[in-house]
Subunit: 540 residues, 2 copies
């Protein structure tokens, strides 16, 4: 110390300061400590920050920054394999435990930060590597960043005037997707979920074939319209028939084979049956990736039949569409998709875009405007200073539309087309790995069928049912195991896998690998954990 | 320096360190400097952060934290009256200027952060205090925090299993909203926008009156269904008629008076006319807050007619519903709403909740399930460990649903019911202020009618048209001024106000004050700026 000079002193101070800063930064970045608002800001109310007080930039930024700290902690926990997926509580118990009430008086910002923490603490971590429960799993970080920006931009997608960049992004992304389907031109829109996308397809088909219905209604069409779809299709297709006034009786379920694929000869038989009765077959829905089994309907054969009988061909590739990225897996599953008239494809499923992000594509330019325009003059004036064809509001049945494009666009920039291809291949390979691991443990697991997609369908065998010959009687018992084992999963909170019955068998597990977080080790953990939780289950 | 002790030295260092830290913190909180990623993180790609690399917490947090810095800067700019609302560019020019392309190869995180900055730089600031263009304006900070959390939670709303807290929040909020309408029980759902909410109401009405249509279709109903709505209604009502197979010819436009309110005697006359012709009047849409004029249809008289002719009464209060909070403005505007069978009410409009947040409410418990259920067994099993009535997926036509509740719930916690009431009263008072200011400048502005809501309809008079007697001929010229003046606004980027024609007059301005950011000074600025930009306009 005796040799300390002034320069040396300041240099030393600076080092210490940097050290302290670094420590603080690292602590902040690694999420240590519970994010808290300084009391000066925590005691404030909504009307002491922006936009109520113009001079409250610092306070507003601190509030939002602390909320983000809570979210970043959550993102970290979601990706921590040692964290549970959920702390399951019955609805009544949860209601008692949480304070969800809406009060007359405002609550301070401190309480709102606390509300955020408690909400996330009790929410299911759908992005956890051990969450295999839904078609939409995972938490893509870049798409998350995109959704945060979307919220801050808070705009509606109906006109170029108020969403210029986002409208152009839609054009770029949707054109790219159409080209991947195999079309040089066409029309597309983002919709709030695959069901609404399918509804758009139905509406376009009806308009294309019977333009008079728009003004005159269904009764103006000679004969009863009939639509066809496999018995494995998503229920939204049937819902279309109800919503649009056809009636579900006129949504004909075409039998599928044992792998869940629509049988073309059955389709043709049923089309002829209805034609013979004076009905008007006009719409066929082919599914590329069924919800339960992940089956792909044979598109080429279906396209031939649609051509022969002059019917609209829609492909519901909400689930399986992502495989269009993969040179390895695209064929034969999606071969023939370019012959469709319309295609639903949900990036929020296999591609991992944040919920919600669903697209529907049409082979025909301008069809959406022609089908859905109600020409609301107050929005879509023709005397604007830019080409009003950039306005999308009159193409849709929703008027306003949430901005679902930015999170997909940013994600695509981040991954590149090749990154999506790698992701598709990886998810498929992991599913193949899971199938192998199930086959290697025939005493504990029973594979129901060789999957075409990341849906792996199987039963788990508790000790009670091992060594018993497999027959219909045993399947009923295996079905009963599902609900019990799922209950145990929920209570343990360590894994989540869905189950359901279908028309050929009672309850069985359907495992989904659609999260980029999953590795081979997670698949091993899943099977081991099912065994740990399930081995002692006894059913009647 | 000679008396420096070791303790004193460290204490001094600590002070300096704190000073440096404080400076850095303040700089960060006040948004100075352009947020940048450290080169170590900026050079990374998507597959070097979560969930692709488990050990990348720090890098992931840094990336997201820097994105949030960009967003916080944007929030600050949005609230800065010295900032422009937009830098208008023609679509073709914007396309050339921006790099929106999707590449085969991934882009580094640095570029994605840059993408975020550039996007916001070129986006319209819909939350700016001088943006008066849409029904949804403003940027509510607490709702923004809620939407950020929603994105991180990234879950779907179809089952309690995967969205436990959010499902309970929906129940709490929707019950509260129903009670504000005046109902003790009932059913509700959040939908992607007011148009879809109106569609839900239409579907419920049809199902309630003609349950057989679900299976048998519209043709099973004796006579042609007819719906009624005022000629001022939102165009989604007409769209329902097209989507659902009625045909727009059977959506009857009831004349409105000069204030834009449906004329009850005309409604009754048209109902009788259609009954006499063997058609089946079954649905009346009353609008509480029309899109252009902000008019409120007379609900009590309409309810009487609906009762007399056994028709379903729907109130589209997407826009005006917020006034239910206000003791001062609720009556007489919304008097009688409790007699409706269904009500659409969009928190993303007057209440300032982030887009999108739309609700639809029904007087009848269980009606949504009865109307829309397709009973998809793979989602909605009855052998779950909790009461499956908490699952909402089978109540809706969308299957999956975006989580639109948290941002509204958190905002309501933050404002309290009383805070929403104050906001409604404030927006109305500001609109009244604007009307006064327009009246005070009769040479420059022409008020078209005394508004009932925050829609202020007026013309601007450039020098050329001042002192000229007001007649139809002049109105045509005033209409031409609108497009020219709007073009100048877009180019200047200082204010944005919408314009449109209606069935009684050519183009006129419709100003909306629905942002909590607006003050009397902003209204003064708006009128002065219109005058500055518009005074020299000359029209043919």
């Amino acid at each position: 110390m005796s040799k300390l000079t002034l320069d040396g002193f300041f240099s030393y101070c600076k080092q210490i300061a940097e050290h302290i800063q670094l420590g603080e930064r690292m602590a902040a970045l690694s999420g240590q400590g519970t994010p808290k608002l300084t009391s000066a800001v925590g005691n404030l109310y909504y009307d002491s920050i922006l936009p109520y007080r113009e001079d409250a930039n610092t306070q507003t930024r601190e509030f939002l920054a602390r909320v983000v700290d809570v979210l970043l902690d959550f993102v970290q926990q979601v990706n921590d394999r040692n964290e549970k997926i959920l702390e399951f509580r019955m609805p009544e118990e949860m209601m008692k435990m949480l304070d969800l009430q809406l009060h007359d008086e405002p609550l301070p910002l401190r309480q709102l930060l606390e509300d955020c923490k408690i909400t996330l603490k009790n929410q299911v971590k759908t992005g956890h590597p051990h969450f295999f429960n839904q078609l939409s799993c995972g938490l893509d970080i870049i798409s998350l960043a995109g959704e945060w920006l979307t919220a801050a931009a808070n705009t509606n997608m109906f006109t170029y005037e108020i969403a210029p960049v986002f409208i152009l992004m839609e054009n770029v992304v949707l054109e790219k997707m159409r080209s991947m389907i195999g079309w040089k031109s066409g029309d597309s829109i983002l919709a709030p979920g695959g069901s609404v996308s399918n509804l758009y397809a139905f509406l376009a088909a009806r308009h294309h074939k019977f333009p008079q219905y728009k003004e005159k209604g269904l009764t103006s069409i000679p004969g009863h319209l009939v639509m066809f779809t496999s018995d494995q299709c998503h229920y939204s297709v049937k819902s279309c028939a109800s919503v649009c006034g056809l009636g579900t009786d006129y949504c004909v379920a075409v039998p599928s084979d044992e792998r869940g694929k629509l049988i073309p000869s059955e389709l043709e038989r049923l089309v002829r049956y209805h034609k013979d009765r004076g009905n008007v077959p006009f719409f066929v829905n082919a599914t590329s990736g069924t919800t339960v089994l992940g089956a792909f309907d044979p598109l080429v054969e279906i396209a031939d039949i649609c051509q022969k009988y002059d019917m609209w061909m829609h492909v519901d590739a909400a689930w399986g569409g992502g495989l269009l990225f993969s040179k390895k897996y695209r064929h034969p599953r999606l071969t023939g998709i370019e012959r469709a008239d319309s295609v639903t494809w949900n990036p929020h499923k296999l591609m991992g875009t944040l919920l919600q992000c669903s697209t529907v594509h049409f082979k025909y330019e301008g069809i959406l405007l022609s089908c859905n325009a109600m020409s609301a003059e107050y929005l879509f004036m023709t005397d604007k200073i830019y080409d009003p064809r950039y306005d999308t509001g009159d193409k849709v049945i929703q008027c306003g539309r949430h901005n679902d494009i930015f999170k997909l666009w940013l994600q695509w920039r981040g991954k590149g087309t090749s990154g999506f291809e790698r992701l598709m291949d990886r998810l498929m390979e992991l599913s193949e790995y899971m199938v192998r691991r199930i086959r290697e443990q025939p005493d504990r697991f029973y594979l129901i069928l060789e999957p075409e997609l990341v849906n792996v369908s199987f039963w788990y065998l508790p000790r009670q049912l091992r060594g018993v010959p497999h027959d219909k009687h045993k399947e009923i018992k295996l079905g009963k195991v599902c609900a019990k084992l799922k209950g145990k999963m929920m209570q343990a909170g360590t894994i989540m896998v869905g189950y359901q019955p279908d028309d050929r068998r009672p309850n069985f597990f359907r495992n989904i690998i659609s999260s980029a977080a999953v590795t081979e080790k997670d698949v091993d953990f899943l099977l081991a954990e099912m065994d740990r939780l399930g081995q002692d289950i006894v059913v009647d």
